[in-house]
Symmetry: C2
Subunit: 386 residues, 2 copies
Amino acid sequence: MKLANRMQSFTSFIVMDILERAIALEEAGHNVVHMEVGEPDFELPAPVGAAMVDALMRGETHYTHSLGTMALREAISRNYLRIYGVEVDPQRICVTTGTSAAFVMLFGALLNPGDRLAMTDPGYPCYANDALLVGASTVRVNPPLPDGSRTPYCLTTEVLEENDLTGVDLFLVSSPSNPTGMLTDEAVYRWLLERDIPVISDEIYGRLVYEDATPRTALSISDDIIVVDGFSKAFAMTGCRLGWIVAPPELVGPLNRIAQNLYLSPPSVAQWGAIAALEQCDDHLEEMRSAYSKRRERLMVGLEELGLKVAGRPRGAFYLFADVSRYDSDSLHFCRRMLDEAHVAATPGVDFGKNGTQSFVRFAYTRDLGQLEEGLARLRRWLPTL
Amino acid sequence: MKLANRMQSFTSFIVMDILERAIALEEAGHNVVHMEVGEPDFELPAPVGAAMVDALMRGETHYTHSLGTMALREAISRNYLRIYGVEVDPQRICVTTGTSAAFVMLFGALLNPGDRLAMTDPGYPCYANDALLVGASTVRVNPPLPDGSRTPYCLTTEVLEENDLTGVDLFLVSSPSNPTGMLTDEAVYRWLLERDIPVISDEIYGRLVYEDATPRTALSISDDIIVVDGFSKAFAMTGCRLGWIVAPPELVGPLNRIAQNLYLSPPSVAQWGAIAALEQCDDHLEEMRSAYSKRRERLMVGLEELGLKVAGRPRGAFYLFADVSRYDSDSLHFCRRMLDEAHVAATPGVDFGKNGTQSFVRFAYTRDLGQLEEGLARLRRWLPTL
């Protein structure tokens, strides 16, 4: 069977290979500490589950509007006002089947074959593959490495000035960033808008910020920015497959046509859970955020004590991007050995790009403190053997 | 905001416009008989709802494998053996976020920009738009019109011989067909395979067959055929967004890479409902099928009494494709007037292609007999006024 040419460039997640290898080890009777997966370990907040059971009982199991129920779109709008103080017309909100669908819909509506999507390196690998589907290519913008005087892996206007953005058709900013946890300043968005470069702001980790950080949305800068967000990370609703786009009004019609053809409707029952998430789960979110914050502190200190220096001071998401070059110059090789020999799973930096990623490993703190302590203890025994 | 060029060709469903117009009429206090929507009016079968509540209680709310849980893939495999007597390795089964995702994944894996996807005219309009996303074009194959001696709108090897299939890269057969309800003979699949044209068989309506028809799958012809199927139509699970692909083994890896990037995972809770659908809902399915069968008979007789001749003798799905040219030579104009003046909603044939579709309207029998009687009564009063 002849495959389409794009499949030659369409990469697999290395993290999935790591996960499969980890599962094979577990099936062979070993215990593995999982720091590879970008999925909350928390259960669905109880009000979300209750709302979904209610929706099932009420028979809310049919197709909804392709852009989601008006009830959910209005709830998302109210949430923007309550959390960020920003007014968003519910008509501009498109509910999607996870943020995954949001990117496919946006690239389908905005990118011609041969067009160029800009994103940071390192960055979330799906963006590039989604762009590949519609024939667009990816331009990687390289923030500074940790060896200089500037904040490592942080996207700034200085970085934008340094990179050649000629012919870029769309710029994707993720803040907080996966895999580095860095935030992006308002100045970056303004710089892009001033140059008429359309901007998508991926805010899927936006509620998971620590220390001084207050939740922010790029919608407070300009309504011309396209915002993507979702329920998976903040509310531990990964399997529900629900996200949303806030789009300029003229883009809603085209996005709806794509939704009608590619998705028909977002999952219906989950949409009722999502309203409960936004309106009844402030305490649950705060508990999870607080737990992530404690884990982050512990893991950051623990890794650095072992000589695995964390790049910069990550302020959001649930990842630490740590330098392993003291032990191995090849992070993929390092991760494979760490899994096989120490039974600790993490994701090699090369999964996220080429900008210094050979030296880095992404550790996710999506397991509880006990698991993280055990992982650190294993590394403490294993690293000296290298 | 500059849109991608493909959006100029990316059509909206006219049925969605009809539906929105119908809803506006209802909001203005009118009662509308809905025969436009291709969605079962039945509620979720009780065992499916119960299994989904159980899954929620058990916390089955996380990402699953990108190709679905092995439990569901094995249940689908057992179902092929039990219903069709066909052995299918669960490893060849890819669970998808509705059949919508199945087509995007398959076109992404198989079609290069400029490639040609063949499908019948009339046919399901999303196919063409999904192909457009990856830069492929659509070749329409025209089965005979009802004015000749042959079975109208039926895809046969004779039709294949008549059409120029040079340069066709992929052929999509839907049986039973939307909008005509026609079945496709095995000879058609064999003809295509003999000429090395890859075949996708869309079997989403495969369990909804009437009269002499026994459920069939193209997998009983050859494992080289790619089969797409789903839970929405047979089990009234539209809002659950679950379908599947049965693919040749060498295609599973590429489909998994696309699933990892474009979907991450199918909805998790619904996957447990789907197992219950396959294993505990034979009676529910038979009740629904029997109800559709009665509705079909009634509506077919009723429409023909009014001079709206049904094309051929449809044997599956839940649609009748009826000729309205006695009253209007423009089915879109006819449908708009029928909705505004008689408050009966149906879908103009032009939503499905250009092959004689100007004269045809698709009536869905997805409302109960009482509603269908009311619709026919309204037409009986309204048609003489034309």
